[in-house]
């Protein structure tokens, strides 16, 4: 229990720190958001009025205090650009990103497990070589190649948009392939490591059938590094959506962020990055806690 509490407290501290870090970085932004909101031909007075409206001329600590107080009530501020609450804009984009991330992790996991299980001599090595290639290429370039092949040349799939399922296929494959390179290596290596351990020989000697050894004992033991990577994978997918959503002109949180950066819509940038970081921290917290379920020994050194 103390272990769980310590992890939760640690995660809370990290989230608070992240809030502060993002706030601090964004308020270094050169350029006055009021000027941008007002437009190019705005008069001095209207800029000043907008500045008061946005509250950007108050001292920084006061803005920070208000921001924290707002966050505590679930208020992420109001978008400079559209005057909508940031939470509304985020919620509108969230399902799209969630669908993309979930599907892409599924692709990554399935590809990883399939590659690890099909440990044939050359097939395995060929998959590994291909995966090295995928992990080393920028995700947007892989996306471009996919568009070239499936949309431009073969004309099977739509390249852009986010209205139908067909439009989800290319971005999901793109994200999933980049992520599965690492995941596959991880799954494969940890399965192989566990297979080398003495207890596997013992189990076999006891007369257990091979699938029982694999599914009941080996996979359970191989899970820990894989679960670790899952936490990291989600962080990567969250990052990846920024690029992929831009490339495939999809709606979503990443797209919202890129657009907000363009017009220096600070509350939206802040909200987007916070949501992404908080999900990342929470997922890693869950991952940490799940270790003790998978392997009771972990609690001791946790």
């Amino acid at each position: 229990m103390a272990f769980v509490l310590r992890r939760v407290a640690g995660a809370a501290l990290v989230i608070f720190g992240t809030i502060t870090l993002v706030f601090a970085i964004l308020y270094w932004l050169p350029g006055d958001p009021a000027v941008l909101v007002a437009g190019e031909n705005a008069t001095e007075e209207s800029i000043a009025r907008i500045r008061t409206l946005l509250g950007t001329e108050r001292p920084l600590w006061e803005q920070y205090g208000d921001y924290l107080a707002g966050l505590a009530q679930g208020d992420l501020g109001t978008s400079f650009a559209t005057q909508e609450p940031v939470t509304v804009r985020l919620w509108a984009q969230f399902p799209s990103t969630l669908a993309l991330t979930l599907l892409a992790s599924t692709v990554a996991i399935v590809a990883g497990v399939v590659a690890a299980v099909s440990r044939g001599r050359w097939l395995d090595q060929a998959i590994q070589a291909v995966m090295l290639f995928f992990t080393s290429m920028p995700s947007f370039w892989l996306g471009i190649l996919l568009i070239l092949l499936f949309s431009v040349t073969l004309q099977w799939l739509p390249a852009i948009g986010s209205d139908s399922f067909a439009q989800l296929i290319l971005p999901v494959s793109c994200l999933g392939l980049v992520a599965s390179g690492r995941l596959m290596r991880m799954v494969r290596n940890s399965v192989l490591d566990v297979l080398d351990e003495p207890f596997v020989t013992t189990l076999r000697a006891k007369g257990l059938v091979e699938w029982q050894v694999l599914f009941r004992h080996v996979l359970r033991n191989a899970l820990i590094p894989v679960v670790t990577l899952l936490g990291i994978l989600v962080g990567e997918l969250l990052s990846g959506t920024v690029v992929v959503e831009t490339l495939f002109a999809r709606q979503g949180i990443g797209r919202l962020l890129v657009d907000a950066v363009g017009v220096k819509d600070i509350p939206v940038i802040q909200g987007t990055v916070l949501i992404a970081s908080i999900s990342f921290v929470l997922i890693n917290l869950l991952v940490d806690l799940s270790y003790s379920v998978i392997d009771p020994r972990v609690r001791v050194d946790g």
């Binding site: 720190g17 992240t18 471009i144 490591d193 990291i232």
Partner: protein, 296 residues
Amino acid sequence: MSEPAAGFVARAPARRAEAARPRLRLPAWLRPGLALPGAIMLVMLACGLFPEWIAPFAPTDMTDAILAPPGRTHWFGTDHFGRDVLSLVIYGARQSLLMGACAVFVGGLAGGLIGLVSGYGGRAVDLVLMRLLDIWMAVPDILLAIIIAAALGPSLTNTIIAVGLVTVPRYARVMRAQVLAVRSRTFIEASRSIGSSNLLIVLRHILPHTVSQMLVMATLGIGSSILIGSSLSFIGLGVVDDRPDWGFLLSQGRSYLTVAWWFATFPGLAITALVISANLLGDALRNRLDPQQRGG
């Protein structure tokens, strides 16, 4: 013993930092050692240093052949201004390599320093710094790079700073782990007992033991730095001036996908080749410099 190809071990969650970077390995029959990745890196370095000797055209040469497919004069085709894509890619090497190398330098220096202080400075300092790094790492890479780059504005220097800052924690972790490992060794004790100052111990005994690991990290870091940097360029927050880098070329080429596949394909190929080479080189280096560390 199994072959080191299967040798990545990370069972306990305590190894999280390492687990984040599973080793990139080619199967044995494809593994070129240092030769092939080294050669690719050398060629790219040459392109970065002397593009005017290597490139067949100047990057500003506009010809009448607009968006011409790859052919005898223009091996990689031409872009929407009729410029030679091969030459653009060659000239782009300088910006991309410069960005990667400088970002690694910034990240490695800052991270190394933090790791050193954290590892050598005692428990309280260590605790504070490690929690800070946790926060630092809690913002996913590209998101952090985006907000830093957005705060600073798009330019080569700012891209380097943004990418460098994002990668600080990974260097700090490796440095700290190395320092902690060396710190408790007997020869440090011996040196202290004959009255060496902390500065001397750090410079003479601790740092030399961390060099090989940091070198490996730096080599591996070039790849990821270039990936993050090119993503920034792609979004429009990276290098935007008249000497485009690969990421910028790629994002330009993207607008002409349907009519000129070569424009986006070749800069992407260059990035990928560079990242693969850096990863393989880092991995080979690790095996050479530190055979004991093979396991992870």
